[in-house]
Symmetry: C2
DNA sequence: TTGTATGCGTTATCAA
DNA sequence: TTGATAACGCATACAA
């Protein structure tokens, strides 16, 4: 890998000073078309393009955003990453993807992002311990930080999420009118689940109707763990159940697998099932899952606007869409 | 966002020169424990940590790897991204995720990665036009480039992939012993499909047994497009079919949906189905798909070793594992 | 419009 | 072991 050409070399080749070269590459700089063309020709011959690293050091802007992800098991992350990277790139930025599964030291990851001088940090659905995050991000020198697709636990870190109150009320009203009488809720991992607020919205709705809600938990967002939780719940259950809302689609799919294949019950006739996220799988005939679509595009748009300071940096809830299919 | 503390400021606070500060942060540098501790204390007080950007400019090493992805629709990308980011990070590197769906200019994306001085470029299952890629990467100054999970079309760019010949032979031998007589193959998008080599391996096997293979194509890797292709094929089909191999699992799932729910046929009794990739979904009872698992961990490991120059930079095929389930 | 000096925060190299 | 000088490639401010 030979060295890249520098502005200086182009300058020599074009017979100008290096600052003229810089100007030729700075939109709106004052330079005659003559010298610009001279420079551009020399640049092309030397295959020159500005070194963004050096530029970043000088401008204190990297146009890089660190995106922290801790759970690559949930397929709903993929379309979000698509949207996020596409939107960032359309604004001249780029995503640095940082894996913070349990094998990695979260604090170090945070510090490393800061050291790399990223322009912003996005916590995408992740479950940092509140204190860890606060201690790091509170420092004045830490890049602007955002929580995406989850409520933020920290005042100074805005959360961009789906309006969960409205979502749960839409979902529950739909269910209530279907006349389900014995609802249950399957939560995910405790720390994440709490910040999602889905369980609370569900339970509160039915309590307001005087209906108790059975509850159980899956410790990971995966179909197999959801299936295991469902299995255990149904095995040990004495009272009847006619409706199960799962914290997300991937759990719901696992639940449906167990209900239909292991207990030979029908969905929704014997037990109705609802999910959340509207992953591709939810539309498959095998699941045909009633679920809720988060406003991905709007969420990402709003967050990127905050990153670009085109909009005040504050928590916001965006409305999503109920997707009614056959499962409930 | 206040300015970060610099080595100079720490130096003043500690009463030493900035080079001593640098040394305190360089493992193995010659410095007395006394001054190191003095520096570390001052650094902690000022919340100092080295600026990696400046370091990169000086060392010509960013410890960043650009990862190009063009299809966020296929869930098999997610565990790969998990593995890739985790492995890179365990080596002190980080992935810059670059979305090159059709809305983006591929050449610009390549140039941009070069401008950012990434240490390497990974094309993850993407379909660059051969010429585009060659023209860019052939330049001496372009970072070392690799194609992951796909054959490379360019000699100078090594491809790290699953040993497709062996894979197809394992799969086909399994099928042959199940006594299927009328096989068909569902390809994906032409440009990608060709580089995958799965279709060729399948067709060649059956031809060698004197059995003709029916063929059709889905123009996108998604369950719904796979379902549509399956539907059309079955509708217009006169001759019998008892086995369908799909280029990957997501297509296979779409195919199964149509076969069982729309045509009310049984899998595998009426039509057997095989996929490729072993996505999570393949294990769901609703699909119970026989498929093939790429050696993700080994592939990523080998590629990262090449990036780190611990291993010669050359194309390699790694053996995967046949996963036999109920669908074939 | 163009050229000059200076700074961004490190690392590499040499001298003390 | 420590301090000093130069360099990385570009941007900013100012002078010509």
């Amino acid at each position: 890998m030979r060295k890249r050409a520098t502005a200086n070399e182009v300058a020599k080749a074009a017979g100008v000073s290096k600052w003229t070269v810089i100007r030729a590459f700075s939109p709106g700089a004052s330079i005659t078309t003559a010298s610009r063309e001279k420079v551009l020709a020399a640049a092309k011959a030397l295959n020159y393009s500005p070194n963004l690293l050096a530029r970043s050091l000088a401008t204190n802007l990297t146009h890089q955003v660190a995106v922290f992800v801790d759970d690559f098991g949930n397929p709903h992350k993929l379309p979000f990453l698509d949207e996020l990277t596409a939107t960032l790139q359309s604004e001249g930025m780029v995503a640095v993807l940082i894996n913070i599964n349990m094998n990695f030291d979260h604090i170090r990851a945070l510090v490393n992002a800061e050291q790399r001088q990223v322009d912003a940090v996005v916590l995408f659905g992740t479950s940092f311990g509140g204190d860890t995050l606060r201690d790091q991000t509170v420092a004045e020198s830490f890049p602007p930080t955002f929580v995406l697709a989850r409520d933020s636990q920290i005042d100074s870190v805005p959360g961009i999420s789906c309006d969960i109150k409205n979502a749960m009320s839409e979902i529950c009203n739909h269910l209530f009118h279907q006349n389900y009488k014995h609802p249950a809720f399957m939560s995910g991992p405790l720390s994440i689940s709490t910040a999602l607020g889905r369980r609370d919205g569900f339970v509160q709705f039915w309590q307001s109707k005087g209906v108790p809600v059975a509850e159980f938990r899956a410790d990971k967002y995966s179909a197999s763990v959801g299936a295991a939780a469902m299995r255990e719940f149904l095995q040990n259950r004495s009272k009847p159940i006619d409706l199960i809302m799962c914290e997300n689609d991937i759990l719901a799919c696992g639940a449906i697998d167990v209900i239909t294949h292991e207990f030979c019950l029908r969905v929704p006739e014997d037990i109705a099932v609802v999910g959340f996220d509207n992953i591709d799988l939810a539309a498959a005939p095998a699941y045909n899952l009633t679920t809720y679509q988060q406003p991905r595009e709007a969420m990402v748009r709003v967050m990127v606007d905050m990153i670009l300071k085109r909009r005040p940096k504050e928590s916001i809830n965006l409305p999503g869409t109920l997707v009614v299919r056959g499962s409930a």
